[in-house]
């Protein structure tokens, strides 16, 4: 019997290919969809056929054609170009809002779960109360509180996304911290005399990475919906910003004449969220966690 020769993989690309095949299908599809969106977001402004507020690109409301795949709105702007120009705005706002929410939520939640006691109790009640206000309602009153001078400001939208997500992320981080805090290495760190902040940063945070990563992906998946809903209701970015929710609301009145001007931005928004959701589900499976997709 001949001894089979097992040769080591020669090329690194081959190893990556094996790794790629082992990932769940949802992860792969999600990643590809996200990459397409990212490429459009980054390169889009350079190749979009028209400017985002350029008028007179064709006959207003003339519908779908090869030169105008998403039609032309009532002001004569090319909707496809607007969608492309809006891509980086939607993605940037969603990601930065979720990232700030993650940072604040993780720090608060981990500290709260580790320290326990009155700090934990007080914070839990406050976060519970913030979660009890439906997230869109919370976002709306936060914007109302900021006042008319700040309305339409992208930074306000980012902070509102962070405000809505931070309590929800903190709740997850707290549960993770309470679990990790029972392990021996945390006790050792505490007995070494490390401060709560340093225990959180060096012991809790690295061990909660998986949970927080999935949580970030899950929240980031709905951030575009939140940003879009605010824009749609007229509390988000201001026209002529090509934010997708705002575009859907602007073109909705004329949906009877040119449905594609609504469906185009809608397709962009829905495909981004589908991509993020598939990615999240796959990521959770790779990290050995379960995730319930949903906005609740």
């Amino acid at each position: 019997m001949a001894i089979e020769q097992v040769s080591a993989p020669k090329q690194t690309s081959f190893r990556y290919r094996v790794l790629w095949r082992q990932t769940p299908q949802s992860f792969r599809i999600g990643l590809i969809v996200l990459l397409v969106h990212l490429i459009v977001a980054i390169t889009g402004p350079f190749w979009a056929p028209y400017g985002f507020s350029q008028m007179g690109t064709g006959i207003p409301l003339s519908g779908m054609s090869w030169t105008h795949p998403f039609g032309i709105d009532q002001l004569g702007r090319d909707v496809f170009s607007r969608v492309v120009h809006g891509s980086h705005i939607v993605i940037l706002l969603s990601l930065s809002g979720t990232a700030i929410g993650l940072l604040a939520g993780a720090v608060l939640g981990l500290l709260s779960g580790y320290l326990g006691g009155w700090f934990d109790n007080l914070l839990q009640r406050l976060l519970e109360a913030l979660i009890s206000i439906p997230f869109l309602v919370l976002a709306l009153i936060a914007i109302a509180s900021a006042g008319p001078e700040l309305s339409g400001n992208p930074i306000l939208v980012v902070l509102v996304v962070a405000l809505v997500y931070a309590p929800r992320i903190a709740r997850i981080a707290r549960a993770a911290a309470m679990d990790i805090a029972t392990r021996d290495f945390v006790t050792v760190a505490r007995l070494r005399g490390e401060s709560a902040w340093s225990v959180m940063r060096r012991e809790l945070l690295p061990n909660a990475t998986g949970v927080l990563l999935v949580e970030f992906a899950l929240r980031a998946g709905y951030a575009p919906v939140l940003v879009g809903s605010l824009g749609f209701l007229g509390f988000g970015l201001r026209p002529p910003t090509p934010e997708w929710g705002l575009m859907i609301s602007e073109n909705r009145a004329l949906i009877i004449i040119t449905p594609i001007t609504v469906l185009g931005p809608g397709l962009a928004l829905a495909s981004l969220v589908v991509g993020l959701n598939l990615f999240t589900e796959g990521l959770a499976r790779i990290l050995g966690r379960t995730v319930r997709l949903g906005n609740q």
Binding site: L140, S229, I256, A270, V274
Partner: protein, 316 residues
Amino acid sequence: MPILRLVAGRILLSVLTLLIVSLIVFAVLEVLPGDVASRILGRDATPEALELLRIKLGLNDPAPVRYLHWLGGLLSGDFGQSLVSSRPVTDILAPRIYNTVLLSLYAFLLYLPLTVIPALIQAIRRDRPVDHGLSIVTLVLLSMPDFLLATILLFTFVVLVPILPAISLVDHSSSALDYLRAMTLPALTLAIVMAVYAVRMLRDNLIEVLDSDYVRMAELKGLSAKRVLLRHALPNALVPTLNVTALNLAYLVGGVVVVEKVFSYPGFGSLLVDSLQLRDLPVIETTVMIAALVYVGANLIADIAAVLLNPRLRTA
């Protein structure tokens, strides 16, 4: 009775949460913005008008006094007067809440078959094309913002197949049929959004139950497949879904804001958006508090139902 104590504890916590919500709402809307009077009247207001509004709102008192006064009003059912129409908030709110309750009931009525039927089909045809197809449909619907879903439904049933009205304006003089027609699209939107979460969960539960020993036992006894599915598997798979249903009720409170606005349905959610645009503070505060009340109530019911249905949670 340990259960009673547990339930009482949960109720107390909920009341505490609502109190903190009221503090947050008051702080966010009346303390943080600085001078509320100039915020409401805008930059061009005359000093006299500002002073008048300050007196009307009691803005010259210190914040804690104003908070206690406001909270006392809320608790005794006196929600104040609208700044825009000078009518009592109660009069403005009552018909809106009535409309939204009707809409929610209708949505829940549509929600049940929309959840059970697709989940049953998926569970029976597990891993077949139908199952995969429906999984993709629910994933796409799950990822679709509710305002987009509402707009697409509007386009489908108003433009392509014109059977329903585009604008859902109703008032107390509308007939029952008008109400039903007006409510169908918003209710359908809400029902679909709620159902997609539940379908995904119910499908997994059903498959798990169908693999269990006692379902196999029922099959071996020679019961018909239909009877096994509907009488043995479904009731057991539904229990975990009840929790989702209670959470869906909580979703509804926020969901109506967008959906009612899309269809111009005169309910509680569109009232909130309108009063935010008009900066009608007493109406905003009352609607937000009611939204939080329903949300906390729905979660409380979900918690208590979970404890009653699952004895293992009772010791926790």
